[in-house]
Symmetry: C2
Subunit: 116 residues, 2 copies
């Protein structure tokens, strides 16, 4: 059983549509790192339009502002709101705990089957 591993993927839906998951978390992370939706989208190989659509969809479904765009003289960019940072943190913890729980359940259920 040593090479057998449980894998899991968790995400959050609202009315059967994805609200937040690993992909959305990566997008938000990239916005935090680059300070720009366009650069974040490039980094993840998606169009600006697709990235913006995902951000708006998540904001609308949750009713929470997550990304603030700003335009200055020489600078323009985007920053995550405190709520977005909190959402990311909670999601990572939720994901980590879910994986740990699945690992434990895997051993509990399959240990006997695979060692027989």
């Amino acid at each position: 059983m040593n090479k057998l591993k449980p894998r899991s993927k968790t995400w959050i839906e609202f009315d059967e549509e994805v609200v937040f998951g690993a992909g959305r978390a990566a997008l938000f992370q990239a916005i935090e790192e680059t300070g720009s939706i366009r650069q974040a989208a490039n980094k993840l190989g998606m169009s600006y339009r697709a990235a913006w659509g995902k951000i708006k969809a998540t904001e609308e479904r949750l009713g929470i502002r997550l990304v603030e765009k700003y335009a200055g003289g020489l600078q323009s960019g985007a920053v995550l709101t405190p709520q977005a940072k909190e959402l990311m943190e909670i999601f990572q913890q939720f994901k980590k705990d879910s994986e740990a729980s699945v690992d434990e359940l895997f051993i509990r259920h399959f240990n006997k089957f695979f060692s027989s």
Copy 2:
């Protein structure tokens, strides 16, 4: 938070390759119901070759015989071995418990965030 729902998908890998998951479980279920690999493959919209490849891959990675083909005078077909039935049962229970655990973790982690 009432319309927000956690979703999860769990599967088992061996050396980074899928050994068993919802797709494999559906294939085995269809073989049990139809008594035929070809009919099971049709039912799931896959080729006989693809279905047989998945069965062999799972058998080889686990080192367990899961499907027995037989050929008779008027009849030929396939049946699941007792080990395959046990694997399906354990996987369903593992999947169900994993989902229940993810549901619980979702509430524990997100309840405060979404009610604020």
